[in-house]
Assembly symmetry: C2
């Protein structure tokens, strides 16, 4: 059982995006450089987040990624599901249908006790991740940091983010 490191990277990337002011964005390259992770691999994770509707990307010189909705409304389960998919980790092979005493297929409509127990445990895992938002992660990171670190991050963001003009009517 292993959660790919793309989940960790995506969670950190979203936490940084949560710190951006309105209309600011960061390119996949900038996000990769900030976290010192391979740009091509992080770009893949960002595309998965985008496909799942968690981030949006603007193209062009002022393009880049920003969160698609408030950081309070993006959970760590949302990010995990976007990167790893929503299939259960326990893949029931219906062993109960095998062998000399195997059950008939038509008698196996509901999952067996073993599969049902694993599905319930995975729901508990998902619910636990679902209770924690990217906003919580931003607060947690801020609490572990120092004022100097916060200034350093703010400087880096100011240098590397792109800022789009307000749309007409904004």
């Amino acid at each position: 059982m292993k959660i790919g490191k793309g989940v960790e990277w995506a969670a950190h990337a979203c936490t940084l995006l949560a710190a951006l002011p309105d209309r600011w964005a960061l390119s996949a390259e900038a996000l990769a450089s900030y976290h010192d992770v391979p740009a091509a691999y992080l770009a893949k994770q960002m595309q998965a987040l985008s496909k799942a509707g968690l981030v949006v990307s603007a193209r062009g010189a002022n393009g880049g990624y920003r969160l698609a909705r408030p950081a309070t409304e993006i959970s760590l389960w949302d990010i995990t599901a976007a990167i790893e998919g929503t299939l259960f980790s326990f893949r029931c092979m219906n062993v109960r249908q095998n062998g000399p005493c195997g059950m008939a297929r038509e008698d196996c409509v509901s999952p067996c006790g073993i599969a049902a127990t694993f599905y319930r445990a995975e729901e508990a895992f998902r619910a636990s991740l679902g209770e924690v938002s990217i906003a919580d992660m931003l607060v947690s990171a801020a609490m572990q940091g120092t004022p100097d670190a916060a200034r350093q991050i703010a400087d880096w963001v100011a240098e590397n983010a792109t800022v789009s003009s307000p749309a007409a009517g904004d």
Copy 2:
């Protein structure tokens, strides 16, 4: 994220062992044949269960596997841990130490919010599996079966199990 099929096999094998009378045992080959799974691979899972103290194996003509303790005291988490190990699925790479604004290693004594959230979710997963015993699985299998199926299983067990003599003083 994927749980190896060895966990499913081991859980089914333990459920069958839970149905055995005292002093009865089943060889790895018999367990594999009952579940129609590859004998060499199931033998590996049984060895892992044995190493974890969940089953014991007697050698010789009357040898075979039986549960090492009451089925009520072996949980699905015990089995999962024996087969998959107890490492967390989320392997924190300490991304927060990376890049131009990375934290100093000495400031990273406690896990970051992201890792802590995943560890908590995995504890919920483990706790959920830990609440369900092999005895529960036996009851669940019995409830999904029929009297005919129960007779068929009893016949198969009678033909394939080994029965050891009571030790002196028993």
